[in-house]
């Protein structure tokens, strides 16, 4: 079994990095995780974002968080992206694959994937 010693090693590795991270996040990815979202597949979408943001080294810039019902259940899983000074982008009917594409093109590349936004799915 994974030991708590391993966890202690993680703590040692991360000490000092914690304060540096705070406040420097300027993009927020918010995944709707109410009943409607979970039933439609929000859990793998969230996990895809969490893993891809880490893998692409974006953790200093991007936070991934969860919220309740966004109020547009028929479009779940819904993901909202907030960035200072920019208009909110709402992605609908998301999947883990689409999430990876959004990380690559939007979070890394700076261009929203218009195809998956609510405006193009009405």
């Amino acid at each position: 079994m994974k030991s708590l010693q391993e966890l202690a090693a993680i703590r040692e590795k991360m000490k000092g990095k914690v304060n540096l991270r705070e406040g420097s996040n300027d993009i927020r990815v918010v995944v709707g995780m109410a009943t409607c979202g979970i039933a439609a597949g929000a859990r793998p979408v969230l996990n895809a974002f969490v893993e891809a943001v880490e893998k692409e080294g974006l953790t200093d810039k991007v936070t991934v968080s969860q919220t309740g019902c966004i109020g547009i259940c028929q479009y779940e899983p819904v993901v909202e992206i907030f960035e200072a000074g920019k208009e909110k982008v709402t992605y609908v009917k998301m999947t883990a694959e689409k999430a990876l594409e959004v990380v690559e093109k939007h979070l890394k590349g700076g261009n929203a994937v218009l195809e998956y936004t609510i405006a193009n799915n009405k």
Binding site: M1, K2, L4, E6, L7, A8, I10, R11, K13, M14, K15, V18, M33, A34, T35, C36, I38, A39, R43, P44, L46, N47, V50, E54, T59, V64, S65, Q66, G68, C69, I70, G71, C73
Partner: protein
């Protein structure tokens, strides 16, 4: 829901909304039966709401007037011939503690039994979303046990937040390794 682990995630989100500081998830499994217990120390449910809560046309939510989470779990267990129970307590003059316990039992061999699915992902998703809440997860299966407590993790981690990627990954791997031992 496709997997019971998704119902567990959803019911635990009710506990998060109820401002619980500790949420316990227990799964007890034998060859025939699977029981899920989700217990929290949140604000509790009033008598009036508790009466309507298993009815899908009841919810306190403002964005949509149908609460689905509890009715979905109730249906999932009752369609296997199992039983559903919810107990809740709010604070008042006599009661200093509040909380809610949801208990759902399933008959695994029934045709309409929904598989449990990825419980590991449910636990890591909960920790990722609510790093300041404590979770105690246990899955007892025919004498073996899978267990994770964020109280223990927090003691080791000190000020390191539980939703750090490395920590979530450790928690997931820790559970996966224990599940491998159960399967053997």
């Amino acid at each position: 829901m496709k997997e019971l682990s998704l119902n567990i995630l959803d019911i635990a989100q009710n506990s998060v909304k109820a401002k619980a500081s500790l949420i316990e998830i227990e799964i007890d499994e034998t060859d025939e039966k699977l029981t899920i217990i989700i217990r929290d120390n949140g604000c509790g449910i009033s008598k009036e709401i508790l009466e309507g809560v298993t009815n899908p046309f009841y919810t306190t939510r403002t964005t949509r007037n149908v609460g689905l989470g509890i009715p979905l779990l109730k249906d999932a267990c009752e369609q296997t011939g199992g039983s559903f129970e919810i107990k809740s307590q709010q604070k008042n003059e006599e009661n200093l503690i509040s909380g809610t316990e949801v208990r759902a039992s399933f008959f695994k061999n029934h045709l309409d039994f929904t598989p449990l699915g990825d419980t590991v992902s449910t636990v890591t998703t909960l920790i990722q979303g609510s790093p300041d809440i404590d979770f105690i997860f246990s899955h007892n299966k025919c004498g073996s046990k899978v267990f994770l407590s964020t109280l223990e993790m927090r003691e080791v981690l000190g000020e390191i937040p539980l939703n750090s990627f490395e920590v979530i990954k450790w928690a997931g791997d820790c559970l996966k390794e224990q599940y491998q031992d159960i399967v053997k």
